[in-house]
């Protein structure tokens, strides 16, 4: 029966795989199972089999695709440059079209619509903030326990969207910030740090109010129509911005691929920068200072969508150094922490298995602080490490150092 949508993996994408197998050891699900059906090559072969009509798009296909974390470690390891992430998003879009289910419909409503409604997110945020104050997230292992990885949510919330933060330094330009769907209410300290650092470097920071959720979660889950609608709204909202700064790695990775999701998307995509790469460049160019510190050791966790999807590895380490700390490697193999967006809810066992490994690597490093540039990874780490470790975004670490430096002088 083959494919039915225009989002499906293309022949060129699938042909690019020569089945060499060099990606296999980089794949977390292959590492856990040793099973070809849980490997990047196996998944691509399965897609090719469906594409050529050799196999039906059945429950087995759904399971083979669904087990994938979409971490894209395979993509970074592939000498043949197979665009695995794109192909997998296409396969998921086909599953949406060909194997409709009520559960998926509800999930897609949440990822594609609800997250983009500020009022819905605000109500949910308020409920979570109350639960935190009642310490409901501390009891048992039920669904509320998953909230353990969250930061303490402020009441009332401090949204940035629609605001403008003029620089007091000599003016370098204007940076438009992606407020994000949950970043704004749940990770407002990261925005504070981003705005603080950019204004210090001479950027007026604007947060256009016409923007919405970036659509990454919808795209990864095969909610292609919703992802396209969200991308189109953001492309319009950021069309006039010379520089779009994003402080969640999953979102910056996705927005850099807007060319595939919206008309005129490529133009906006080309102006998107992850805050870690931009800040590291500003430090290297002397526009922001390197702050002397006592060189305390800080672990660096590489979010997959920063390291594998965007190939950014030096920047977060440079920020740790610029903040006066010593970056510590915890995982040379750069395996996924298991958070992987909604994966953590859909496949809690695998998510947890990978998360426990990552937390152990942090503990083995003998550090008290770990930086991660993506909210999902941050929650996973904080949830599993507990109160013994502080988990922050690298730009926060740098911002705190900048602030302390200012107080000292």
């Amino acid at each position: 029966m083959s494919w039915v949508t225009t989002d499906a993996p293309t022949r060129a994408e699938l042909d690019a795989c020569v089945t060499c197998g060099l990606c296999l050891p980089h794949c977390p699900t292959f590492r856990l199972t040793g099973d070809e059906t849980a490997s990047p090559r196996g998944r691509l072969t399965a897609m090719a089999a469906v594409a050529e009509g050799l196999a039906p798009l059945d429950a087995t296909f759904e399971e083979i695709m669904g087990f994938c974390l979409q971490c894209r470690a395979c993509e970074a390891a592939c000498p043949s440059l197979v665009p695995f992430g794109r192909a997998m998003e296409g396969a998921r879009a086909e599953l949406t079209a060909q194997r409709p289910s009520r559960v998926r419909t509800v999930r897609h409503w949440v990822l594609g619509r609800a997250l983009a409604m500020r009022r819905v997110v605000a109500v949910a945020t308020f409920a979570v903030a109350i639960a935190q104050r009642l310490r409901l997230d501390r009891v048992g292992a039920g669904p509320l326990a998953r909230l353990r990885g969250l930061r303490r949510l402020p009441i009332p919330p401090r949204p940035t969207v629609g605001r403008r933060f003029p620089t007091a330094a000599s003016r370098r330009g204007t940076a438009a910030l992606l407020a994000g769907c949950v970043m704004d209410p749940w990770f407002s300290d990261v925005h504070t740090a981003t705005v603080g650092v950019l204004t210090r470097a001479g950027y007026d920071v604007v947060v256009p109010s016409a923007q919405t959720c970036c659509g990454a979660l919808a795209a990864h889950d095969g909610a292609a129509a919703a992802a396209k609608a969200l991308a189109a709204r953001n492309v319009a909202a950021f069309a006039a911005s010379d520089l779009v700064v994003v402080d969640a790695a999953g979102c910056s990775a996705h927005m850099k691929e807007y060319g595939a999701w919206a008309d005129e998307g490529a133009a906006v995509a080309a102006r998107v920068r992850d805050v870690t790469e931009l800040t590291a460049e500003l430090v290297a160019a002397g526009a922001l200072p390197s702050i002397p510190g006592d060189g305390e050791r800080v672990a660096v966790q590489d979010p997959c969508h920063l390291r594998h999807a965007q190939r950014i590895t030096a920047a977060p380490r440079a920020l740790v150094r610029a903040a006066g700390y010593t970056p510590v490697e915890i995982d040379p193999a750069a395996m996924c922490c298991g958070a992987a967006g909604v994966y953590t809810v859909l496949r809690p066992d695998t998510s947890r298995e990978l998360g426990v490994r990552k937390a152990a690597q942090v503990r083995d490093a003998g550090v008290e602080v770990v930086v991660s540039a993506n909210p999902g990874c941050e929650m996973q780490l904080r949830g599993l490490l507990g109160a013994s470790h502080r988990v922050l975004h690298p730009v926060e670490l740098y911002w705190h150092a900048l602030e302390q430096e200012k107080e000292r002088s």
Binding site: D15, G21, L22, C23, L24, P25, G34, E36, P79, S80
Partner: protein, 471 residues
């Protein structure tokens, strides 16, 4: 009770694959040809492996061992609908004897993981095939894998002291031992390179090698392939045995550079990677000699890698060559022959000529030091008649290598891909001896049928009795 039920009883449902789409993913390895898997099983212990063999034998289903599936010669391809026994879950390093420099490992241990793990003891496992980051030690034993650094260190067989083998009667035996030269017949040596046709290897005693105190890696660019080949023979003639001596042609260098961005000279007609190891004085002197020889042969450029990152990038580039080929076309066919170094230039010229005549896109990468050639043909298997054309060209290429005094298969094994070319290098008496050796281990042809030996290898099939052979 069905065959599947019997497997479920042995390893449990979660470790058996039997859905049609799942089976399709085990139908081939990294090569071109596909077979048919009847079921797939993932044993975790030698005992479970033996139990799987017992089930297969009872049901008369052939057994095909599989590691990471990075082989290029079809060794893990089920020629007949068979039980694919995947060894990846037996991936423990059981014990390491640092002083004695040996380790017992599971067949599913990934080659590079072993060396990384041993790094803290200053040791490594020497054979380093290109697929080192992904392939398993078990697969290396099956194919007697080589690699760039086998020039000085020898191929897998020189690094295996013992193997634990599940035989056709589902018994577990240990062949070989800690002593470098155990008494009796060298059955361990027979198993290495047998491509799973004699039994299933479930544990391996490997020899470990000390990390060299100093390493120097040179990247040398040439304006023509002949100058590069001359450098190779002159280096060896000067009495230097580099730890590795590798060559890539322009097409290959370009594909690789596209992926690694390591600064390979993409304008050069050929690039040599030479590595010398040892104590500092010797390393410096040998590297100097190689650079001088290259200069004399007309090299355009000689670069010395900074130790660590740059060297690693160069090797990562070289070792990703096979995968990078896909940038040229969706399928590739890799040849693997060994020719005398002195004939390198002649054979290469012929190989390019054959490729040109068939209108095929050729990329070349090879272990120049030991004359192990890997011409690659990039093509699209869906073009009608293409695969046949590629295989015709392949046969011609093997033939020129053999006629120049070379041999089939340096290191990737024979599998099914080159099986029918075996009579080119072995006469009927040799083939008969090999077939009877195989029969001694596996009289019913349970293990990996259709591999290595062409049908008709046994003398009875030839209708001919070898002189002196007892029929």
């Amino acid at each position: 009770m069905s065959f599947l039920d019997a497997l479920h009883a042995v390893v449990g449902r979660e470790r058996v694959r039997s859905q049609p789409l799942e089976l399709l993913l085990f139908a081939k390895d990294a090569g071109v040809r596909a077979g048919t898997a009847a079921a797939v099983v993932f044993p975790e212990t030698p005992e479970e492996t033996a139990a799987c063999v017992r089930v297969a034998r009872e049901w008369g289903v052939p057994v095909i061992p599989r590691g990471a599936g990075t082989g290029l010669a079809g060794g893990a391809v089920p020629e007949e609908p068979g039980l694919v026994v995947v060894m990846t879950r037996m991936n423990r390093i059981h014990s390491v004897d640092v002083a004695g420099r040996t380790a017992w490992v599971g067949p599913g241990v990934i080659n590079l993981d072993l060396s990384v793990e041993l790094g803290r003891h200053g040791l490594h496992y020497a054979p380093d095939p290109s697929s080192q980051s992904a392939c398993t030690i078990g697969g290396n034993v099956g194919t007697n894998a080589g690699g760039p650094h086998c020039l000085a260190e020898g191929t897998t067989v020189a690094h295996i002291l013992a193997v634990e083998l599940v035989t056709a009667d589902a018994e577990i035996h240990i062949l070989g031992g800690e002593a470098p030269d155990p008494p009796g017949l060298d059955l361990r040596g027979v198993v290495v390179g047998s491509e799973g046709t004699l039994g299933l290897v479930t544990r391996i005693l490997v020899k470990l090698t000390q990390n060299p105190p100093h390493v120097r890696t040179l990247l040398i660019a040439f304006a023509d392939v002949a100058a590069a080949a001359k450098t190779v023979s002159d280096v060896i003639a000067a009495g230097i045995v580099p730890a590795a001596l590798e060559m890539m042609d322009r097409e290959m260098v370009r594909a690789v550079e596209n992926f690694v961005h390591a600064g390979f000279p993409t304008e050069a007609a050929a690039v040599l990677l030479a590595e010398v190891t040892g104590f500092e004085d010797g390393v410096v002197a040998e590297a100097g000699t190689i650079a001088r020889i290259a200069d004399a042969a007309g090299a355009n450029e000689v670069r010395v890698a900074s130790e660590g990152a740059e060297r690693d990038e160069w090797w990562r580039g070289r070792k990703s060559a096979f995968g990078a080929v896909a940038q040229a076309a969706p399928d590739y066919y890799l040849h693997d022959t060994v020719v005398p170094r002195t004939k390198l230039v002649d054979v290469l010229t012929d190989v390019y000529e054959i490729g040109g005549r068939y209108g095929l896109t050729m990329l070349n990468v090879f272990h120049a030091g030991d004359g192990n050639l890997h011409p690659l043909v990039a093509f699209d298997a869906r073009e009608p008649g293409m695969l046949d054309k590629v295989e015709e060209a392949a046969k011609e290429m093997v033939r020129v290598s053999v006629e120049a005094g070379g041999s089939l298969s340096g290191e990737h094994g024979v599998g099914s891909e080159k099986r029918d070319l075996m009579p080119l290098v072995f006469d009927p008496v040799d083939l008969d001896a090999q077939a009877r050796l195989r029969d001694a281990f596996d009289p019913d042809g349970l293990f990996n049928p259709g591999k290595v030996l062409p049908s008709g290898s046994r003398c009875a099939d030839f209708d001919y009795v070898a002189a002196g052979a007892v029929p």
